[in-house]
């Protein structure tokens, strides 16, 4: 019995440990990011290959749950963190991340980037963006609502599925979108949405899966989601519902940690990330708009439906100061 | 010589108060008779250590029997029911009676002999759950005898046996008791068994042991 235990444990750890067997002496850049960025389907592997080909270095992606988890981990580790670069924070938590004082200035010239608004951030480098929007199936729903007001006015059996703002990045984005569009009237909008909300999931993937299996008419996602179905599945039935109130962009950013002893290498990586070469990997792996003009390299699906006409914005400090309050108000309104 | 000196016990506050005093000589079978529920098994449990008297003394050859835990007492007990492990073979059940230091090479032979003494030769590998009630009782008895302790406690050892086996077991117990000098206590409500085996008999009446006159040979 005891022998069996010992053998099993030994085998288990050998196997599990084997996965880490890497030993190289090249400079090593550790990148913390969210899981789906680092995964085999995300941009991670291609970016790693592309950057390593030109840097004589090794780049390690370390994926955690999601963007918030990345920030929390860096906060927990403080100056002792192994991370050199963090990739995948978004505009909703950039303010909080900045306030930690853990991030160094990137020193890159970003004036050439194409973004919803001009980019002047000294710490964070944008690498892709999208807009929060409700995605629907054009066959099942030929005439989607064109505003929150219209959505609210629909019969109660018109269902949307959204994410919990406390546990999900798009969930928080959704809340900020309504806040940006309606300000003090936001709780009213939430109350109006309440009968339409089928459920509030923990994360994006559960919600999107509910929508795909036909449980809801629309799902809170990104304006770029339809492009996935068009490109990867050759299915162009999906679209996003453009709302007349306008849409809030989500810009995903990367930053260099002040504690990193690989500042130059980190800067090179961010430069690569925003170069046309690096950017070419983003659209069809992370399913977001690139921050440079890729021309013909951008699949047509990304431009088949134009980006929203009206673009909303929220002040970063206001987000940092008030998001907790806004969440409480929204949850109270739909409870 | 087993001596119980004013051993008192009761099952809870409302149970019958027992007051046991008796003595039993080595090399002899001492019988305890009495109707069901009179306290025969309670008496054995007190001697074996599964119950602890509230006062009184139990001594074997002058040595206080009370302090050691049941498994450390110099005795061997045969329970009335559930006396074998059903999932083990007859042989494995009997082997549990062998002293721990019995050499491996001798164990098989000792078990086979013990089973053969019981008329169960060849049943070593048979699962106990497939044995008849009488066979199980003999397996349990074989194991109990094999332990070879100075004090032997038997609780209705022949209840499931036919006449032939009953006579055979009685003879075996009588012989071993005499040969080995065991102090054997036999609990039974079967007068034939008592008559055939016991030198001395006690009956339990109103919670006390009373020497009985029906003692025979």
């Amino acid at each position: 019995m005891l022998d069996l235990t010992r053998t099993t444990l030994a085998v288990a750890f050998t196997l599990a440990g084997g996965a880490y067997a890497v030993a190289q002496d090249l400079p090593r850049l550790t990148v913390y990011t969210y899981d789906s960025f680092a995964s085999e389907w995300g941009p991670g592997p291609a970016l790693k290959a592309g950057f390593e080909a030109q840097c004589t270095c090794t780049i390690d992606f370390l994926g955690t749950d999601d963007a918030i988890a990345v920030l929390r981990r860096v906060q927990l580790e403080g100056a002792a963190t192994e991370a050199d670069v963090v990739v995948g924070l978004d505009t909703a938590i950039a303010g909080e991340a900045r306030a930690t004082g853990l991030f160094a200035e990137h020193g890159l010239d970003l004036s050439g980037l194409v973004l919803p608004s001009e980019w002047t951030d000294a710490q964070f480098v944008p690498f892709d963006y999208g807009y929060f929007a409700y995605v629907y199936n054009t066959e099942a729903l030929p005439e989607p609502p064109t505003s929150f007001e219209e959505l609210i006015a629909l019969p109660d059996d018109f269902k949307i599925v959204v994410q919990d703002p406390r546990s999900s990045t798009p969930g928080l984005g959704h809340l900020l979108w309504i806040e940006a569009a309606y300000g003090e009237r936001a709780p009213e909008i939430w109350a109006g949405l309440a009968p339409h909300i089928l459920t509030m999931t923990r994360g994006w993937s559960e919600a999107y899966n509910l929508f795909l299996s036909g449980e809801a008419d629309m799902v809170l996602s990104y304006t770029t989601s339809p492009a996935y179905h068009a490109v990867a599945e050759d299915d162009d039935r999906f679209a996003y519902a453009e709302f007349s109130e306008g849409h809030l962009p989500q810009v995903e950013v990367a930053g260099i940690l002040a504690s990193s002893d690989q500042q130059d290498l980190a800067r090179d990586f961010l430069a690569y990330l925003t170069s046309p070469e690096g950017q070419a990997e983003i659209p069809t792996t992370n399913w977001m708009y690139p921050v440079v003009d890729l021309g013909d390299a951008l699949p047509e699906a990304f431009t088949a439906q134009a980006q929203p006409e009206t673009i909303l914005a929220l002040d970063e400090d206001a987000v940092t100061a008030n998001s907790r309050l806004w969440i409480e108000q929204a949850l109270a309104a739909i409870r | 010589m087993l001596v119980l000196d004013d051993v008192r016990f009761s099952h809870g506050a409302n149970g019958t108060p027992y007051r046991f005093s008796m003595s039993a000589a080595p090399g002899e079978v001492t019988a305890i008779s009495g109707p069901s529920g009179s306290g025969k098994s309670t008496l054995l449990d007190l001697i074996a250590g599964f119950l602890r008297p509230s006062s009184g003394a139990i001594k074997l050859d002058g040595v206080d029997l009370l302090p050691p835990r049941p498994e450390r007492r110099p005795l061997s007990i045969l329970f009335q029911s559930d006396a074998v492990f059903d999932h083990l073979s007859a042989g494995a059940n009997v082997a549990l009676g062998l002293p721990r230091n019995t050499p491996r090479a001798e164990r098989g032979g000792a078990v086979s002999r013990a089973l053969a003494d019981m008329g169960l030769a060849g049943l070593e590998r048979q699962r106990a759950s497939t044995l008849s009630g009488g066979q199980k009782q003999r397996v349990a008895l074989a194991r109990t005898l094999l332990r070879d302790k100075p004090l032997l406690l038997l609780d209705e050892p022949f209840s499931a046996l036919d006449d032939e086996n009953r006579a055979r077991m009685r003879a075996l117990i009588a012989r071993l008791t005499a040969e080995r000098g065991w102090t054997t206590i036999l609990v039974s409500h079967h007068e034939d068994d008592i008559a055939a085996l016991a030198r001395q008999t006690y009956a339990i009446r109103d919670g006390e042991l009373v020497p009985s006159t029906m003692a025979a040979p």
Partner: protein, 538 residues
Amino acid sequence: MPPSAERLSRPYRPFRLAAGAGLSLAILGLVILVLSSILRAAGAEGESAALRVDIPHLLRMSAIQAGLSTALSLFVGLLIAWALNRLRFFGRDLVIALFATAIVTPGVVVAFGLLTIWGRNGWINRTLEALLDTGIGNPIFGLGGILLAHVTLNGAFAARILLARLDAIPAARLKTGQSLGLGAFERFRIIDWPMLRGTLPGLGAIIFLLCFTSFPIVLLLGGGPANQTLEVAIYSAVRLDFDLRGAVVLALVQIIVCSGIILATTALSPVPASTGPSRAQTWADGTMARLLQWLVLGLGLGAFALPLIVVIVDGLGPGLGRVIASSSFWSAAIASVAIGLASATLTLALALALGLGRAAATDRWLKLVLGLPAFAYLAVPAIVLALGFFLFVRDMGVSPTRAAPIVLVLANALLALPFAIATLGPPLEALASSRGRLIRALDIGGFRQFQLLEWPLLARDMGVVFALAFCFSLGDLGVISLFGTDSFSTLPLLMVRALGAYRTNDAAVIAALILLLTLFAFLALPRLFAWIANARSR
């Protein structure tokens, strides 16, 4: 005070007691360590946002939901166990294995399986719409949906545990009952119920705690923030507010509430009835009862097995080849199996140490103390455990990424522990109480007792425990997310990644393969254990 008859009739096992008590203390120490690691990292911040949460409201909501889920699960589990115990048919073992898999399947997978059947676009609605041009709407969201999912997960588990108790009824008792011509109801009351009674409080406590702390299902099917649990508040305190102090306070609230429930049910729990050899059931109930049994079984299969079968059918579709061909799948599968084996071994060792210690104890309080650590993982919120482990490992100067597999093994073992104890505890207890006198009379030592009695008699149950723990480990995401991973991945992690990358099909394939592996483990491992035990005892 003189030792009680109870104490004298049980094997004297100071070593087992000490091992059990030591282990209990170690697990308690672990929980304290985890919480204090977090408090240390929290520092002395001021006001705590998380504490503005309306705790009494959350507790009330959680308690209602969990109470209903538990009562329903136990009732349904009882019915199914009753039916399965009586009926003999081809594929019965497979059905039992299928029932056992429900609880170890990732909750989200089961939830989606349920949706395929009950959802707006599910089988029932589509069938009804095709036939009658009407549907049942959206019954699966809200409290009803949570209950349905919880009963599916836990009712099947309850059935599995209760069935094991019923199958262990000694053949002699059945013969007596049969010869007395007991009717179906009398038979249940006189023969079955005493056997089950001892198991219900512990089982109920586990299910209650599972539902009380349930998280993904409550969010997925809850229909909004009205239905929430304390666990969600803790999760958001850690992630959103980064309010570690608040998270610890909330975690303590949860631990205290859960401990109260555990203490209450453990104290309630009577000594279970005796165990003995059971033979294949040959005593069939009357026609009406049999009809009812088949009906229960049919409904049970429909409700429990169908969602799982749906998952398998959906998964073994077009994406199968692609997934199987990828190296990431295989490395994740190997890591999952290795971690599963390690944590199953650890679970079995822990469960035996605690269960044997508890069975050796006669003191009421000692029994209680030895029963508590089984529930550690249920009481301590997963994210708090993960965070605490993470900080602790860092404090020790070990890279969290490197420690991830070990922590995962430990966490998974703790996760499976309550189920392991629920499976092994009652028979171990029954063995000690019913065979204690004979064991003492023969002066059988602790090791021999295990070798001769516990191992051969309970090998199959140990196999079930091993399978259970193995499968829990296969299906659990648990603590790994905070640790971050590079090349290291497990099957559920791979599944979640696929979902997060729009790869719904790949995720479905992985879910199906996890389920198949689980089924296989439940079919094979108990047999393997029983076979080894048999081979030895001959």
